[in-house]
Amino acid sequence: MTKTTDGRGRIQITGFDADEVKEREPLSDWQETSGGEAVGRWTRVWERFKRNRTALIGLTIVAVMSLLAIFARPVEVMGLTVQPISLAPYPPEEILWIRHDVSQNTPPSWSHPMGIDGEARDVFSRVLAGGRYSISIGFVVVAITGTIGLVYGSISGYFGGWIDEVMMRIVDMILAFPALILAMIIVSMFGGGYWQLVAAFTIFGWATYARLMRGEVLKIKENEYVMAAKALGARDRLVIFRHIVPNAVPPLIVYATLQIGTVVIGVAALGFLGLGMDPGTAEWGTMLENGRNAIIPGPGGDIRWWITVFPGAAIFLFVMSMNMIGDGVNDALDAQETGVAGGGDK
C-alpha cells in the first residue's frame, strides 16, 4: 500500500520539461505551396465585391450614367475641346422651335425619345447632360466632406481629453440642425450655382463623417498594435495614418458611398425648391421644378408626364444604384473583418 504524502515532486513528468525536448515538431505544417501568393487586402475586397451581383448591377448603372453625362456634350477646357463626342442630339438649353419644326409639349417620339418640354427643349438631351451637375456634385461633396471628417475625427478620437471634448461639441452643434436646412441657409446666403451648391453640402456635411471616424478610432486605438507602434517610438502622425486610419476607414467608405446618393437627392431637393441652379439649367432637380406645372392637366386635359418622369427616373436610378453599391461595399469590407468564409457573400 502506497503511503500518502504532503511533499511535492514524487512524480516527475519529464516529457513536459522543455529543456529535455530534443526533437521538436516543426513550427507549423504551413508549406510554401499551401499558401498561394499573398493577396493584398483591397484585392480580396474587390474579389468579394465582384461576386455580389446586385452591387455589380449598381456599379454598371452608375458607370453608364456617368459616361453618358461626360459624353453628352463636348467638353471644353480653356477654349480647347478635350472631349469632342456629343451623344445628346441637341444642346440642353436650346429652344428647339426657333430652328426646328417642333412644338412645345410634344410627347415622346422616335426623333425625341423623351419628348419636348414646355419651353420646347429636348428632354432626352437635358436628362443626359443634367447628370453632369447632379452626379459630379455628389462625388465632389463626398470626397471633400469625407476627407475633412476623416482627419477631424481621427484627431479628435486619437488625442481624446479636452481636444476631443471641444471638437465633438462643435460636431454636436452642427448635427443639431437638419442638413438640408443648413444647405438652404448657405444657398440663400451665397445664391445658386455649382460651387455654391458644393459649399452648401460641404461646410456642414463633414460632421457625421467626423463622428463616425472618431468612434472607430476610439475602438482601434485600444488595439495592442497601436501601443506596439508607440513602444517602437513611432510619432503620432505615423501611428494615426499608418495604424489607425487604415483600420478605421471601412465604415467611413460604406457611409460615403451611401452618402453620394443622399447628396444627389439633396441637390435635387434644393433644385426643386428653386434654390439650386439657375432656373433654366439642365439639372435633374431644377428640371423637376420647371416641370411642376406640367403635372397639372393642361387645356386639352392631358398630363405631360414625360417632362417630370424622366428626370425623376434618372434621380431614382442613380440613387438606387449608389445604395446597391454601398451595400455591396459594406458586405465586402465586413467579411474581411471576421475572415469567415461565406459570411457576407454567397
Binding site: T5, P246, N247
Partner: protein
Amino acid sequence: MPEVIVVTDETPLLRAENLTKYYDSSGGFLDSLLGNSQDVKAVDGVDLELYEGETLGVVGESGCGKSTLARALLRLVEPTDGSVYFQQRVEEDGEPAGRREVDLTTVSSDDLRDLRTDLQYIFQDPFSSLNPRLTVGDIIGEPLDIHDIATGDERTERIYELLETVGLNPSHTHRYPHEFSGGQRQRIGIARALAVDPEVIVCDEPVSALDVSVQAQILNLLEDLQDELGLSYIFIAHDLSVVEHISDRIAVMYLGEFAEVGSTDEVFSPPYHPYTEALLSAIPEPDPLWEGDQIFLPGTVPSPLDPPSGCRFHTRCPQIIQPAAYDLEQDVWRSVVDLKLRVKDAETLESIATVPDETPADDATSRTSIRELPSAQFESVIRSEYDLPTELSDSSAERALSQAIDELYEDNVTGATARLDDAFTSPCEKHHPEPAQTGTNHRIACLLQDERYDGDRFEAVDADSGSGSDNAVADD
C-alpha cells in the same frame, strides 16, 4: 538551464523607485469638475531592479497591476510618481563609451524615442498586437524605418535575418498576420522587438494567450535569444510554473505592491510571504496521493479604488497577526476579522448574514429576515455564518464579540463596528509592512518577517517612531 549568476554589487541595468500609477476613474470632465474623481491605485510604489542578462519574473493575480507596471516602466503609460533609471549605452565617435544613467520618467519625448531602441516590449495578445493591414515585412521593418536603422536591400536583409532568428521562414515576409498561428504571431512580435537590438525586453504575459505546447516553444526561444543576445527580461505572468521555468528572480505582486522579491529558489522555499505561500500551494500536483495543504484565500481581491489599510493582504491573509492580548486559534482569529470587516462595510443587517433556508417550501416566498429571529438564534446564525465557535477560547475576546453581536441584534451596526474595531485590530491593519531582508536578495513585505515586529513589541517600536514609521524605517 544555465544559471545566470546575479552579482549584487553591480549597478542594475534598469531600476524603478517608488513607481506609481493611479488611473482617474471619474466618468469624464463633468465628474472631475464636480470633484467626483477617485483614483484606481493600479501600481502603488513599486521598487525593482533588473540586472544585466537576468530575467525578473513578476507574478500576481489578474488585476493586481502587472501590466500597468510593465507599461509604466517603459513609459507607455505616464507614471503618476516615481522614477525609472536606465543605464544607457553611450557612444562617442561610434565607439562604445560606458554607460550613463537616465531617468525615463523625465526625459524628453525625443530622448525617449531614442531609448526605445534599448527598451522593448512584447505584448500579451498576439492577435491584437500585429496590425492586420500590414505584411510581416512591414511590421518588422517598421522599427527599422522609425529609427533609420536600415533601408533598401539592407532593410530586406535584416528582416530576413530577424525572421530566421525567431524561427520563421524568410519567405513569410509578404504575408499578412492572419495567415499565421498564435505562436507564429508571437514570434513575429518578438522579431519586431528585436529589430532595434534592445537590451531590455519587457514581456507582458507573452505566452498566456498560447496553448501549452506552443508556450514551451516560445519560452525556449526567449531563453535562446537571451543567451545569444545578452538580453534582460522583465517577464510578467500569472502562471507560476512558467515564471519558475524562465526567471532568475521573481517578484510577487499583490494589489499594486510587491509582496515578495527574491531569487527563484528563495521565493519557492521558506520563509514565504503568506500570499506567495497560498499561490505556491495552488500549483497542481500530479501525484494522486499528494495530500498537501491547499491554502484557499477567502473572498476576492479588494478594489484598488480603496485598497485596505496597513498590509493590503490583511483582508485575506490566513496568517493575519493577532493583537498580543489574545491567544486565539489562527483560523478563529481569521473568522473574527472576517466578521469585523463585513460589519464595517455593511449598511444593513441583511448583508451581514442570512437565515439558513430551513423553512418548508410553502413558506419560501416570505423568507424570514434575520431581524425577526430571537436573540439566541440570531447569535448562532451569525456565528455559524462566520465559522465562529459558540465560545471563543479567550474570555476577553469572547466578551467583546458577544457584546458586538448583541449590538447587531439591536440593529446598531455602527456601534458594533466601533466595538469590533476597538477589540479586534490586527497590527496588519495599522502598519504598512516594509520589505524585510530575509536573504541576500530576498525581501518579503510582511510584518511576520519585519524585524520591527516581534510578538507584541511591534507597537512599542512603532510608538517611538510615531506616525511616520513607514518612512522612518524604510530601506532597512
